[in-house]
């Protein structure tokens, strides 16, 4: 492992790569701060720029953008109660009341320290967990990979939230459907190209990501304009940040929260599909329960614990979500799905072989995560009062710029104007789906995993002489598929079991 860390350090600590981390964190913070634009959009906007880079530098830049965007999302959550991403929704619960009470600076400092600690502790876990899992996963066969992809896709749907499971599954299926457009890789026949040459290579993941995230989010902002009161409130929050200093008592109160939330966040992040949002809500809930009645009453009204817990957990989960990506080549979230797409476009195949074939990419990403955390703390925190001014840019100027960067980002890769028109179609469809409250991330994940899933299933069938028996005869495949089935069925059955148990308890109470 020490050799690996040295490889990572020698790659990451070159002037150009340090510049990448710094630029990534700064740009990510800017983009993440814009309400509606999250890390997926931020990374998607960066991809065309990084095409000319070597894979390690490109990934280092994107890891920096990822952290920066999460931090930027926290800033807009705290200052204007507009989380850029779902992962920072819980941050607004206590961060925004603190800002309203005139402690915006302190809330931002707590968020920065908590993010730094969570990210740093999780980077150490990643350092230990990723190589170990990479070695184990060398024994995985295509049947197991197929099962793991099924697990990843079902987990995304299962964690989608109450009433959203079927919708998330539908979006996953939609993503899988879009992934089948183009020339079939194995048999060479065209599928769903509608007779046009432009679809022979299929739909590019960058096009889909830009259209369904950056473009559609910008169009949604036009569709639902802010009220004058909201705009006035935002201007007020940006101009009065207050002190950023923390007292010793506040640091002492934060420390155990940060420790617990880092561990929880990392392990939740490792689970495919769970990610930063679930981690932040779970950490918030856990700390509220552990706080005791007096401190628990402060939650939602500007509690330091209530702010530190989700901030730590979401950053720790970001590091955790890199474990399945780097070791198995399976993204656990929409953001890591887009990073997988970027890696593939560099000609790097993530998975167990990445650890052996491209150790400099593997280790430099891990090391750069730590460097990214340091950069965020020492560079972004002092710059926050200035960076926050981007929130003052009028939407009349900002939105056309976002549209332009999204369109040109895709056009600069293909130089095909058909892509611009296809983006508009996807963006309009995404706006309609957003209005109907269908989640977008499962669609992107389904799209990214679709091709790989089909290829692994086909390979597994060829190895097994066209027999489907591997699904139940190979223990590892069967175990993973069973977990997938359990994850899918559990949220549907659990409330019924709880109702039956409650009824029985009531009946027993009446009888006794």
């Amino acid at each position: 492992m020490l050799d690996g860390i040295l490889i990572g350090l020698s790659t990451a600590i070159t002037p150009i790569n340090i510049l990448m981390v710094m630029a990534g964190c700064l740009v990510g913070t800017f983009i993440g701060m814009l309400p509606g634009l999250g890390p997926i959009s931020a990374i998607a906007l960066m991809i065309p720029i990084t095409y000319g880079f070597d894979p390690a530098s490109g990934m280092i830049l994107m890891a920096g953008v990822y952290y920066g965007a999460i931090f930027g999302g926290s800033t807009s959550s705290i200052l204007i109660n507009a989380p850029g991403v779902a992962g920072t929704v819980a941050t607004a619960f206590d961060g925004y009341p603190m800002a309203r009470a005139g402690h915006a600076g302190k809330a931002l400092a707590i968020a920065a320290y908590a993010s730094f600690s969570g990210g740093s502790i999780a980077a150490v876990f990643l350092l230990i967990a990723a190589p170990s899992l990479a070695v184990v996963s060398l024994a995985f066969q295509s049947t197991d990979y197929f099962a793991l992809m099924v697990l990843g896709l079902t987990a995304v749907a299962a964690f989608a939230g109450k009433g959203q499971i079927v919708k998330a599954l539908m979006m996953t299926v939609l993503g899988l459907m879009i992934s089948t457009v183009g020339t079939d890789q194995t048999q060479g026949v065209q599928r769903f190209t509608l007779g046009t040459m432009d679809l022979i290579d299929g739909v590019s993941f960058l096009l889909l990501a830009m259209a369904t995230f950056a473009l559609s989010e910008a169009l949604m902002a036009v569709l639902k304009p802010k009220s004058a009161a909201d705009i006035a409130r935002e201007r007020d929050a940006q101009s009065n940040l207050g002190s950023m200093k923390l007292s010793k008592a506040e640091v002492r109160e934060m420390a155990p929260v940060v420790g617990r939330s880092s561990v929880l966040g990392f392990f939740i992040g490792v689970l495919p599909g769970a990610g930063a949002t679930i981690a932040s809500f779970l950490a918030y809930g856990m700390e509220q329960r552990l706080a005791g009645p007096k401190k628990a009453a402060e939650f939602g009204k500007g509690s330091i614990r209530g702010l530190a817990a989700p901030e730590t957990a979401n950053n720790a989960a970001c590091s955790g979500s890199f474990v399945p990506l780097l070791t198995l080549g399976i993204p656990g979230s929409g953001t890591t799905a887009i990073m997988l797409g970027a890696l593939l476009s560099y000609g790097v195949q993530p998975g167990p072989r990445l650890f052996l074939d491209n150790p400099e990419v593997f280790w430099s990403v891990i090391v750069s995560m730590y460097i990214g955390n340091v950069v965020l703390l020492i560079l972004n925190l002092p710059l926050i009062p200035y960076i926050a001014r981007i929130l003052a840019l009028p939407p009349t100027v900002l939105i056309p710029m976002i549209l332009f960067f999204s369109l040109i980002g895709v056009y600069f890769v293909s130089f095909n104007t058909f892509d611009i028109h296809l983006m508009v179609i996807f963006a309009v469809a995404a706006v309609v789906l957003r209005l109907l409250e269908f989640p977008m991330a499962p669609m992107l994940l389904g799209f990214i995993l679709g091709g790989m899933m089909e290829e692994n299933l086909r390979r597994a069938l060829i190895i097994n002489n066209d027999s489907w028996s591997f699904l139940w005869e190979r223990p590892l495949t069967f175990a993973i598929l069973s977990i997938a089935a359990l994850i899918l069925v559990a949220p549907m059955i659990a409330p019924r079991i709880a109702r039956v148990l409650a009824r029985r308890r009531e009946a027993a109470g009446e009888g006794g």
Binding site: V173, D184, Q187, V424, E437
Partner: protein
């Protein structure tokens, strides 16, 4: 009024059925017809899955609330979409600098910006800077001028 979930389910059902019908048009080579897994297998399984899930949502929606669209600026969004389509059509013949500057100016005006200095300052210099950055520093060439000015 049709609820959000039911409307979404209907749209997805129609899409799944259309996708399923098109999947039967995927050509198969003679030796592939008897294989356990062909180029049609996954699309047909997905079409079935999509239709089943849509029916589940149609029969048992998670919410009965209707779509909330009151006060939405549909006109602004429609105009921006038209602008994007026009940008796609003009970026090659009119060149990057002119088409992009016009696209941005059009976008600012559509969204209600009326300050001429801001419209000009936020479009032309930004487009020129971006073009220089891409062509001179990142090595991505894009034709700056309209067709009639090219040699």
């Amino acid at each position: 009024m049709v609820s959000r979930d039911r409307l979404g389910a209907l749209l997805m059902l129609a899409f799944s059925l259309g996708y399923g019908v098109l999947s039967f048009r995927i050509p198969l080579l003679a030796f592939q017809a008897e294989a356990a897994f062909t180029a049609r297998s996954m699309p047909q399984a997905l079409a079935l899955l999509g239709a089943v899930l849509s029916l589940i949502l149609l029969i048992k929606p998670g919410s009965t609330a209707g779509p909330q669209v009151a006060g939405f600026r549909w006109g602004g969004v429609a105009l921006l979409c038209v602008l994007m389509v026009l940008y796609g059509l003009s970026v090659r013949p009119a060149g990057f600098l002119i088409s992009t500057s016009l696209f941005l100016m059009g976008g600012f005006v559509v969204l209600g910006e009326r300050r001429i200095w801001l419209i000009l300052a936020a479009s032309v210099p930004m487009v020129v800077f971006f073009w220089v950055l891409m062509t001179q520093f990142l090595g991505v060439f894009i034709e700056p001028w309209p067709e009639f000015l090219r040699r």
